[in-house]
C-alpha cells in the first residue's frame, strides 16, 4: 500500500464523474495506490457503491460543490474556490495530498498547477511535456501548450525539464536533446531558435542541435524543445491526422468485402499498435516544474487513463523527480535560469 495519496479531480473530463471514480478504484485495486476523490460527494459515493467499493483510507471522498466546465475561461478557477479542481489543488498546496490528477479543462488545470500548487524555485515557467511514440521508443516534446511567446531562457529550462523527465521517468540515459527548427544546420530557424541555440550548446546537456518536424517521430532525439504554441499545434495536428487516416482507410476498406475480411484478420495486430499509440496508456501529460506532480489527462480520458495518470504521479514521487530537476536546473544552467 502506498504512503502517498493523490488528489483526483472527479468532476473534470468528458466522462466525469463515472470514469474518473472508476479510474481511482482501478488504481487502488490493481496497483494499491491511494486517492482523494474530489467532487460531488453524493455522486461519487453512488458510483463507488455501484463498483462494489466504499469510502476508505485508500479512497477518501472530499466534497466540492462546484465544477469547472471544459470550455470556461481557465482563469475562473481561481475565483471558484468550491470547484473540485480548486479544492484538489488546495489539498496539494496544504500538503494533504502528494499530487494532482485532472481530466478537466486543460487551461484551468495549468492555472491551478502554476498558482495553487506553485512551481519549484529554480523553474520560472513550469512546462508540459508529452512522450510521443516512435518506432524505437519515445520522444519527449515540450512545451506543448503551457507557455506561448517564450524567451530563450524558458526553452533552456524546458530542455532541462525534458532531460530530467527522459532520464528519471522514461529511463533514457544521457538523453539526446534537440531544438525544433526548420533546417538541420546551426543558424537555421526563427529568431527564438537562433537565440536559444547557443544557450543549449553551452548548457552541458547532450545537445545534438536542430531537430526538424520529421524528427518528432523518427527516434533520432529523446527530447525536443519548442515554444508552447508550436508544440500544441503539432500535438493536436498529430492526433487529428491519426484519426483522419483511420477514417480514410475505413472508407476504403468498406468498399470491398475482401478488404473487410483482411481488416478482421489484421485486427489483433492493429489493436497492439493502437495500444502503443493510445494516449490512455500514457497516463497524461505532466506539468514539469510544479512543486508536486500535476498530471493533466486528455479530456476524453477513461478509467484506464486515470489509473495510469495516478500511477505516473506516483512514479514522479518515487523517482524524486523534483529534487533531480532542481539539481539539473542548477547544473545545466550555471548562470541561474531566473536571471
Amino acid at each position: 500500500m502506498s504512503e502517498t495519496i493523490i488528489a483526483v479531480d472527479c468532476m473534470g473530463g468528458d466522462y466525469a464523474p463515472e470514469e474518473i471514480v472508476k479510474g481511482c478504484v482501478l488504481a487502488y485495486r490493481e496497483l494499491g495506490l491511494r486517492s482523494y476523490l474530489v467532487g460531488d460527494e453524493t455522486a461519487i459515493r453512488k458510483i463507488l457503491k455501484a463498483l462494489g467499493e466504499e469510502e476508505s483510507e485508500h479512497l477518501q471522498i472530499v466534497h466540492a460543490g462546484d465544477a469547472i466546465g471544459m470550455h470556461e475561461p481557465p482563469s475562473v478557477v481561481l475565483r471558484r474556490k468550491d470547484s473540485s479542481l480548486y479544492v484538489a489543488g488546495l489539498l496539494v498546496r496544504e500538503g494533504k495530498a502528494d499530487g494532482l490528477v485532472s481530466a478537466g479543462n486543460t487551461g484551468a488545470v495549468l492555472t491551478v498547477g502554476k498558482f495553487i500548487v506553485g512551481s519549484i524555485e529554480e523553474m520560472e515557467r513550469p512546462t508540459i511535456g508529452v512522450a510521443l511514440p516512435n518506432p524505437y521508443g519515445k520522444t519527449v516534446l515540450l512545451d506543448v501548450g503551457a507557455n506561448v511567446d517564450c524567451k530563450p531562457k524558458h526553452l533552456l529550462q524546458f530542455a532541462i525539464a525534458g532531460h530530467t523527465y527522459a532520464e528519471e521517468v522514461l529511463n533514457i540515459r544521457n538523453p539526446r536533446v534537440g531544438i525544433l527548427s526548420i533546417g538541420e544546420e546551426e543558424g537555421k530557424g526563427n529568431e527564438l531558435v537562433k537565440e536559444t541555440y547557443p544557450l543549449l550548446k553551452a548548457s552541458g546537456l547532450n545537445f545534438l542541435g536542430n531537430a526538424e518536424g520529421r524528427d518528432i517521430y523518427s527516434g533520432n532525439f529523446d527530447v525536443i524543445v519548442c515554444d508552447g504554441f508550436v508544440g500544441n499545434v503539432i500535438l493536436k495536428a498529430s492526433e487529428s491526422l491519426g484519426m483522419a487516416v483511420v477514417q480514410m482507410i475505413k472508407e476504403e476498406v468498406k468498399k470491398s468485402i475482401v478488404a473487410r475480411i483482411g481488416a478482421l484478420l489484421m485486427m489483433p495486430a492493429l489493436n497492439n499498435f493502437k495500444k502503443k499509440a493510445d494516449f490512455s496508456e500514457y497516463g497524461g501529460i505532466p506539468l514539469l516544474g510544479a512543486k508536486k506532480p500535476v498530471i493533466i489527462t486528455h479530456g476524453r480520458a477513461n478509467a484506464r487513463a486515470i489509473k495510469n495518470a495516478i500511477k505516473v504521479a506516483n512514479e514522479f514521487l518515487a523517482h524524486r523527480f523534483n529534487e533531480r530537476l532542481s539539481q539539473n536546473l542548477l547544473r545545466f544552467s550555471p548562470q541561474g535560469v531566473k536571471t
Copy 2:
C-alpha cells in the same frame, strides 16, 4: 498541344536527372504539356533516348553545366549562374518559359522564385501553401516554410493567397479561412495570432476565426494560415508520423501469419488510401505570389510527381491565378498590403 512551356530543373531532387526527365516525357505524352529540360545536355539527351524520345519543340533541352546540391546553403544559387536552377529561373524571368518546376533544394528554389522570377507587386512576401487531404476534401495550409518571423500583414496576405488557391485551383467556393491557434475563442493564441485576428476579421474573407491543430485534418476549414516556421514543422511532423505509423503497424503485422494474410487482402484498399495521401499525386507546393507559377516538389519526387507538378503549373496559368490573386489582394486588403 499547349501554347505554354514550363522550365523544369532536371538536376534537382533525389532522383535527378532520370526521374525528372521521365516526368517531362510523361507530361508531354499523357497531357500534351511542353517543357524546357534544363541541365546537363549529354545526360538529358541520353535519358530521352533511353525513353524512346528525342529533343523536339515539346521537349527542349537547355544546357546548364552546374547543379545546386540538396544540402547547400540556398543563397549560393544566386552566384551559381550556370546552375540548372538559376538557368531555369532566368528562362522564366526573360519570358521564355511560363513557369518553373524543381524537385531540388527547397530553399534554393524559394530563393530563385523570390529573386529571379520575382513576386507580383501586391504581394510583399510570396508564400508556399500545401493542400493537405482530409476525409472530406482538402485544406490549404500556408505558409509552410517560405517565411519565418512573420508580421500580421504577411499572414493576411497568406490568407488571401490561400483563398485564391482554394477558389481558383481547388474549386472551393467561398473558402472557409482560419488562423492556426491554440484555442478556439478569439483572444487565444500568441501575440502574432492576436494581432492578425482583427485584420482577418475586417478583411471580407470568409473568416471563421481560430483553427486548432486538430482542424488541419478535420475538414472544418478550407484555408488555415500560420507562420512559416509553424507550418513547416507541422508538415514535416505529419509526413514523419505517417511513416512511423506505417512502420509500427508493419512490425505488429510481421508477428502474426494471420495478420500478414489480412494485410495482403487489405492491400488494394490500402493502396487506394495511399494514393489519396501520396504527395506525388499533388504535384508539389506552389509559391503563391510569384510572377509566374513556381512549383516546388518533394526532394523524393518521382516521374509521376514531376508530371503532376508540370500539370499544376499549367493549371495556375489556365486559371489566370495571378490576375485573381492581385485582384483579391486589393479587394480583401483595402488599406494596401504593403503599408
